[in-house]
Amino acid sequence: MSDSTSLTPLFLSLQVAGISTFVVFITGLLAARILSRNTFFGKSFVESVLLLPLVLPPTVVGFGLLILLGKNGWIGKWLLEWFDIQIVFSLTGAVIASIVVSFPLMYQSAMAAFASIDRKLENAARTMGASGWRVFWTISFPLAWSGLLAGLVLSFARALGEFGATLMLAGYIPGKTDTLPVAIYFAVEAGQTEKASFWVIIIIALGLSITIWLQWWSRRNLNRYKSEK
C-alpha cells in the first residue's frame, strides 16, 4: 500500500463534503424558511421537485446532471461558452452531485425544525417591535437549532458517502476526482482488499471524529443558551 495510498481521496472527500454541506445548509435553510412561511400556486409541486433527488437512484440523478451540465447540455454548453467552465470530470462536478443529493435532507430537517417552533414566540417578539431578521436570529434559529444541526449532520454524511451521482458526473480521475467512496469502490472491484480496508478505516475514523466533535459543539452551544437565559 505504499505508492498508491496517497491521502488524496481523504482530502478530496473532506473538501467536497465541506463545500457541499456549507452550500446545502444555507440554501436548504432559506428554502425551508421561505416555503414554510409562504403559500403560493404550485407550492407542493416545487416541494416535490426539491425532494426528488431523495427518491431517485443516485445514478439517475448523476445521469440527469450529466445531460444538463455536460458539454452539450443546456447549462453545460452555456457555462462553457460564457465562462469557460467545464463541470463534468472536475471536483466541482463532485460538489454539485453532493449538493443535489444531500439538499433534500437539509431541506426536510429544516422544514420540520421550523414547523416545530411555537409561532406565538415569534409573534410576541414581533409585537415588541423586533424586525423579521432579528426575530429569525434571536427566536427562530436558536429554537430550530437542534433540528437544523440534524440536517447539517445528515447532509454532511450523505455528501461524504455520495457515490453514484459523483461517479457519473465527476468520473474517476485518480488524484483529481477520486473521493473516498469512489476510491473504495475501485479498490474492491480490483480485489485490492488491503487498500480498500485502509480507506474504510479512514472513513469510519472520519465519521466518528465528526460525531464526537458535533456532540461536544452542540452541548457547548446548548449550555451557552441556557446560561444566557
Binding site: 458539454k71 450523505r158 465519521g207
Partner: protein
C-alpha cells in the same frame, strides 16, 4: 439529558449509514446488472403450448452479449419449440462466481478466458463442451460531432485530447486490454493524465456519446449499437491479448442435450451471422 443522549446516538448512526451505503453501492450496482438484462421467459408470440416436456435452458451470459443473444433467442426458440431460453446477464467474473456458488445455470457464455479457466479448473463445467465462439476487438471512438480525426491508435496526440475515457484497467477487462494497447504503443504514460476511468464499458460510451470525453476505447460490439459515436480506428489484434468469448455447459445441468443444441446453434451459420451483425468477429 436523555434526549441529548438519544440524539447523539442517532447522529452517530446517521454518520455510519453512508459507510454501509458506500460499500453496498458497488454490490448493488453489480447485482443490479444481472436481473436488469434478464428477459421475461415469455414464450414466442402465438406459439401454442407444447405437449412435450419443455426444457428451460438458463444461460449465464456476459453483459456485452445482451443484444446479440436476445436476437438469437427468437430464431432459436422458433426452431426448437421445446426449449425456452432464459438469460442471466452480468459481468463474466460475477457470473462465474454465481456458478461456483451453485446458482442454477445450464450454459456459461463468458467474455473472458480467465473466468472460464477458473471454472474449468474446479470442474464446474463440462470440459469437452467448451468452445470459443466469438472474438471482439477494441475500437477508438469519438462523438459524432467531434472534430477529432485520427485513423489509428498510434496517431493519438495527447495534446489534442482533454479527457480520454477508458475502462478501469484493474477491474474492467476492456480497460486491461486498452492498457496493453497503449503500453505497446508507448502512449500509456503520455496519456495517463487524460484518462477518465470508468466502471464498465457502457459508461465509456455514455461519456463519449455525450461529448464530455473527447475520445474513448470500447469493444467493437459496443460501438456498433451506440448512436452518437464515430469509430476512428480498430486496434490491431497483436497489440493486446486475444479477446475471445468461450462457452461451455455447466457441470450440474439437467438439460445437457438442449444445451448442446444451443451451442451448435451458436456456432452455426445463423449464429455467426447474428454475432457478426452485433460487431463480434469469428474465431479463426
Amino acid at each position: 439529558m436523555l434526549k441529548r443522549f438519544v440524539y447523539s446516538w442517532a447522529a452517530l448512526l446517521v454518520l455510519l449509514v453512508p459507510l454501509g451505503c458506500s460499500s453496498n453501492h458497488g454490490e448493488n450496482q453489480l447485482s443490479a446488472q444481472q436481473p436488469a438484462g434478464q428477459p421475461s421467459s415469455a414464450r414466442p408470440d402465438g406459439a401454442a403450448p407444447q405437449p412435450a416436456e419443455k426444457a428451460e435452458l438458463i444461460i449465464s451470459a456476459a453483459a456485452s452479449l445482451t443484444d446479440a443473444m436476445n436476437e438469437l433467442k427468437r430464431s432459436f426458440e422458433s426452431e426448437h419449440p421445446t426449449i425456452t431460453l432464459i438469460y442471466n446477464f452480468g459481468s463474466s467474473g460475477k457470473l462465474a462466481q454465481q456458478i461456483e456458488q451453485g446458482a442454477p445455470a445450464d450454459l456459461f457464455l463468458s467474455a473472458s478466458k480467465k473466468d472460464m479457466d477458473e471454472l474449468q479448473e474446479k470442474n464446474q463445467i463440462i470440459a469437452d463442451s467448451r468452445i470459443d465462439f466469438a472474438k471482439n476487438a477494441l475500437v477508438l471512438i469519438t462523438s459524432s460531432s467531434s472534430p477529432l480525426n485520427v485513423s489509428s491508435f498510434a496517431e493519438i496526440d495527447p495534446a489534442r485530447v482533454q479527457h480520454f475515457a477508458i475502462g478501469e484497467p484493474e477491474s474492467v477487462p476492456a480497460g486491461r486490454y486498452t492498457k496493453e494497447v497503449f503500453e505497446n504503443l508507448k502512449l500509456w504514460d503520455k496519456l495517463k493524465s487524460k484518462f477518465v476511468l470508468s466502471s464498465d464499458v457502457r459508461q465509456v460510451l455514455t461519456y463519449v456519446e455525450s461529448g464530455n470525453a473527447d475520445a474513448g476505447v470500447v469493444y467493437s460490439s459496443d460501438a456498433i449499437i451506440a448512436k452518437n459515436v464515430r469509430v476512428l480506428a480498430t486496434a490491431k489484434p497483436e497489440w493486446h491479448k486475444p479477446i475471445v468469448y468461450p462457452a461451455a455447459i455447466v457441470a450440474t445441468t439437467a438439460h445437457a442435450e438442449a444445451a448442446r443444441d444451443f451451442l451448435a446453434y451458436l456456432t452455426s451459420e445463423k449464429g455467426k451471422e447474428v454475432l457478426k451483425k452485433y460487431g463480434f468477429q469469428q474465431v479463426s
